[in-house]
Symmetry: C2
Subunit: 356 residues, 2 copies
DNA sequence: GTTAGCACTCCATAGAAAAGAGTGCTAATA
DNA sequence: TATTAGCACTCTTTTCTATGGAGTGCTAAC
């Protein structure tokens, strides 16, 4: 059987109605509120076909029909084609003035949630380059050193090193020189065992300080690369606005995932791989078990220089895909604007904060 | 009317039974499962008295009684007296080996939640001293400086300063000397306008760098003092285990507060003021609106040197107060153990991380 | 002071009945 | 041949009623 124009119109009507109401929609509704001028009986016949084709199902005999994942998929694919690049300006972003990166991101995700009435997530931008830029040891007191490591993208990490023996300013100076000349400009993979043992030898009695510095480097790079990257969420309570998600069972599982955050990484990773497009996961398509009853829409934002993160919306399958995608695009644009677009990448971001 | 021994026994039995079942408890239950050997009729008379005294209420005529906030309060106060300091060892804390402070705290709060089956919160330790310990400017490139500020308690904050004009190593050196000699050892209140304009004058053309450094100082102190301090929560999904909290309305509000976190500050503040004891908020006593149907138990932990934070449990009013208080005590003890007890305060904590 | 007994209240549960929504099928129609 | 009207049928939802049970309060007896 083929999905002809009329079937498509009807399917579309069903989807849209269901998006609004969340209730199964019957033939009569479609017949009345479409300009097809067909009787409910005809619609019924078509619906029967559509059901056979797998686009809609009945929750039970003698209920209306609801769209299947497949229908949503069709609908979304069509949307993507239709709306080319019409980014509507979200006027009141209001985030320009907040100075701290982390605060801004929290704001953004909150905004996204309250704007869409769904749950929002945002992964902090992480740097893909990972070259060591600058290492500094400073003496706090004879038995304590402050170690600061800066990697490209101006991610800063500090660490306090406790010493067994006293150390002099001069020794600290030497160590600084040594570390910077040998490690600066290198990536994680370039700092190999040979180099490490070399440097340790040169450091002589202070080799264990070198070890600690390397730990810090490893840590910041690891933190930036995977697992541990920051994810913010907001609007978890919005799931209670959609009855189909708010029974104890489901709600509990969802809340739990949102709280744990680590599985949300899956979206970030998938989003990274897919390039900078907008990604839509409908029901079973989701990589996250507890969201098989939801739809998730994600987008990648880029801050120039390979610094990138992911924003996403989690809602019921009957979410307003159009509005959600628009919101994501707008927010992505705003993030670019605030933190430096590709255009002005020459002037570094006004103020990039250290990692959390 | 007076709360004599018998009334008390009965009230206690009512509370305990209700804690277990969550259902209103009737006179017959008490008569059977207490060793008072009184008939249900007698119990009924006493219950009638207890109701008059405000310790129990009937949800409706011809239901059993449930304890009021007042009854819980009595019960808890009694508990505190009874259990002096019998800290039961929680064997499997398993946190000793994780090196990063933040990770440990997240672990701890997760543990607390899963151990108690309630929702847990934890505020990261914050320092009460707030003296500047060390300031460092380092040149990243001719137009960028890295500014690191360390305050007592080894809280580290960094910030990147963008410059209008190039700067030389020598100028950086001079600025470092100036800043450290003038600001080190001072508290926020000691850094006043007079001093600031003095230093700015001495800094000459680089006075705006001084401003930025001061901003960083202000920020770290502000972050440590109030508003913005880190709070971790875990086990939000546990509220679904208690029917009296898991209707959409209530659950939504609770989840929302837990997510926003900022109002949870109220508990931290209150806890700070109350000293290091254990604090119990029953229903209406809670400073947080959305938790009027819950009980909240908090405890302050101290890491020596004035570094302190709060741990807390949020659950239904019929929570197992005894176990919760024990858990809190145990966790508090463990935190001390891991991060350095008062005893070994000479040897600073193995590894205190920078603020998030 | 304690208890047995009883009438009474209220809630929870189950079932039956009614109402409603929607379908599928058939036969008539354009 | 495609469309439609009509109707029987199915299944859910809602409403109502009846019934049982839990628990109380009161009274009278011990």
């Amino acid at each position: 059987m083929e999905l002809d124009a009329r079937k498509e119109t009807i399917l579309d009507a069903i989807i849209q109605t269901y998006l609004k109401t969340g209730e199964p929609v019957g033939s009569r509704t479609i017949s009345k509120y479409t300009d097809l001028n067909l009787s409910s009986a005809t619609i019924r016949n078509e619906m029967s076909d559509l059901e056979e084709m797998g686009y809609i199902i009945q929750p039970h005999t003698s209920a209306g029909r609801i769209p299947t994942d497949r229908a949503y998929r069709l609908y979304v694919d069509r949307l993507v084609v239709k709306k080319t690049e019409q980014v509507t300006a979200m006027n009141s972003l209001m985030i320009a003035k907040t100075s701290r990166m982390e605060e801004v991101l929290k704001q953004v995700v909150r905004l996204l949630a309250s704007n869409t009435n769904y749950t929002a997530m945002l992964s902090a931008p992480s740097y893909k380059g990972n070259k060591v830029k600058f290492i500094q040891l400073s003496k706090l007191n004879p038995r304590q050193l402050l170690n600061v490591v800066v990697i490209e993208g101006n991610i800063v990490k500090n660490h306090i090193i406790d010493l067994k023996d006293d150390i002099t300013e001069e020794q600290v100076l030497k160590l600084n020189l040594l570390l910077n000349t040998r490690f600066n400009g290198l990536t994680l993979s370039e700092i190999n065992l040979g180099l490490i043992s070399n440097v340790k030898e040169e450091a002589g009695s202070h080799s264990e300080i070198v070890s600690e510095v390397l730990d810090t480097i490893a840590e910041v790079i690891r933190a930036e690369t995977d697992e541990d990257m920051k994810i913010y969420t907001s609007g978890a309570n919005n799931i209670f606005k959609y009855p189909e998600l708010s029974d104890s069972e489901r709600a509990s599982r969802l809340i739990s995932t949102l709280e744990e955050k680590d599985v949300l990484q899956d979206f970030v990773k998938a989003s990274d791989e897919s390039g900078s497009g907008i990604q839509v996961y409908i029901g079973e398509e989701s990589p996250v078990e507890s969201m098989k009853d939801c739809s998730v829409v994600t987008a990648t934002y880029e801050l120039g220089d390979g610094l990138q993160g992911t924003i996403g919306i989690i809602g019921p399958k009957r979410m307003d895909y159009e509005r959600v995608m628009d919101s994501l695009k707008t927010v992505r644009a705003s993030l670019n604007e605030v933190f430096g677009l590709p255009e002005n990448r020459q002037i570094p971001g006004k103020n990039e904060e250290s990692e959390a």
